[in-house]
Assembly symmetry: C2
Homo-oligomer: 224 residues x 2
C-alpha cells in the first residue's frame, strides 16, 4: 500500500482514498473505450480530474492500475456471495428461502454494472494478459463457486439436499441462474438491462430447477 | 455477395473462396490482438498474404469485414446445434442418449477455438458496437436457445420430459452444460484448454442434473 501514501503529507486520508477510487473508475472507463494498449495515463488522469503525478502516486504504472481494478472487483463480488442473507442461518427449515437468498445475492453481485465492465475488460484483454485472466478465474470465478459449494455442502450435511459433489452442484446452480443474464449483458454492451425483479426471477427459476434435481423433497437425485 | 465477385474475371472460384476465408481468419486474429480500432486493413492484408486491393475486393470496409466474421460464426454454431446426432430420431426410447448427444453438440459448437475467438471479440467491442453485439445475441445466442427449446418441447410432447416452458428449460440446459467451460475459456485466454472427453463430461453432467429436474422417470418436476 506504499503507493497510496501521500508523499506531500498534507492531504487527508479521506480525500486520498476518494481520489484513489476516482482514478480506478476513470481507468476502467478508459480501458474499456480504448483497450488496454490504447489507454494512456494522461487520459486516465484527465478523466479522473487529477494530475498525472497523482495517478502515479497511487499506482506505479498502467499494469498496476489494471491489476488493482481486477483484484478490487474480485473482493467485492466474493464478499457479496459470502454474505448472502440467511446464508449462515442455522435453521434448515426453509431450504427454498435460503437457496433463493443465496442465488439472488450471486446474481446481484455479478450483475453490478461496474463488475460487468471489469468482466468485459478481462475477457477483452485475456489473450494479451493471460496471467491476469487466470488470476480472475482462479481467485474470483472459482472462489465464488467454492463459496457456493461450501454452502451447498453444509445443506447436504443437514440432509436438506442430496449432493454427491458440492463443487459440481455449485457449478450447476451458478449456470442455471447466470447463463442468460450474464451473456446478454456481455453481448449487448449494456450493464443495466435488467430490473431487480427480472434478476430475482432468474435466481428463483434457477433455484426451482436446482431443487427439483437436488432437493430431498423432490425425491432426491436420480443419478444414473 | 457482389463484393466477392472476381472483377478480373480470371481467378477460379475456389481460389477466391480460399482467399475470402484467409482474409476472415487473418482479420479475426488482428482484431483480437489490436482491438477493432487498432486493426488496419494493411495488417489484415499482410497477415492473409494478399494485397490490400484483394481485401477491398472481398469486403467494402473494416466494418463489413467485422460483420462477416460475426455472422459467419453464428451460422456455423447454429448449424452445429441443429444437426446434433440423434436429434431428429423419432424413437424416444433412449431419452438420455438423445439429450447427451444434443448437449455434446452444443458444447462442441461453442467451444471451437475460432468461435471462442469471435465471442471474445464481440464482448470486447460490445460497448463500441452495441448493434453488432445485439445481432449476435438475438440471431446467435437466442437462436441457439430457441433451437434447443424446440428439441426439448418435442420431447415434452412425447411425454419424455415434464416441461412447463421449453424456453426456460433450454436456458437451464445450456447453463448447466456451458457455464464453467465457456467462462474458463473466456477468462484464461486459451481456446483449447479442454480435451474432448472433458467437454463431453461437462455435457453429460449437465444432462444428468437436467434429467433429475425435468425427467419423467425422475418423478417429474416438482414446481413450487
Amino acid at each position: 500500500m506504499e503507493a497510496m501514501t501521500d508523499t506531500q503529507g498534507a492531504e487527508p486520508t479521506g480525500r486520498s482514498a476518494r481520489k484513489h477510487q476516482d482514478i480506478l473508475a476513470a481507468a476502467t472507463e478508459v480501458f474499456l473505450q480504448k483497450g488496454y494498449l490504447g489507454a494512456s495515463m494522461d487520459e486516465i488522469a484527465a478523466r479522473a480530474a487529477v494530475s498525472k503525478q497523482t495517478v502515479y502516486k497511487h499506482f506505479a504504472d498502467k499494469e498496476a492500475l489494471f491489476n488493482a481494478i481486477v483484484l478490487g472487483t474480485i473482493d467485492r463480488v466474493t464478499v457479496g456471495i459470502d454474505q448472502a442473507p440467511t446464508r449462515h442461518d442455522p435453521d434448515p427449515a426453509d431450504l427454498e428461502t435460503r437457496l433463493r437468498a443465496q442465488a439472488r445475492a450471486l446474481i446481484a453481485s455479478i450483475m453490478q454494472p461496474d463488475v460487468l465492465q471489469v468482466r468485459r475488460l478481462i475477457i477483452a484483454e485475456a489473450a494479451r494478459f493471460p496471467e491476469l485472466g487466470t488470476t480472475w478465474y482462479e481467485t474470483g470465478f472459482q472462489r465464488g463457486l467454492a463459496s457456493l459449494a461450501s454452502f451447498l455442502g453444509d445443506l447436504a450435511e443437514q440432509d436438506s439436499l442430496t449432493i454427491d459433489d458440492p463443487a459440481v452442484a455449485a457449478n450447476h446452480l451458478a449456470g442455471l441462474v447466470l447463463w442468460v443474464p450474464v451473456n446478454r449483458a456481455m453481448f449487448c454492451g449494456k450493464h443495466d438491462c435488467f430490473t431487480k425483479k427480472e434478476l430475482n426471477d432468474f435466481a428463483d427459476g434457477g433455484v426451482d430447477t436446482f431443487l427439483a434435481a437436488y432437493g430431498v423433497k423432490a425425491g432426491g437425485r436420480q443419478r444414473r
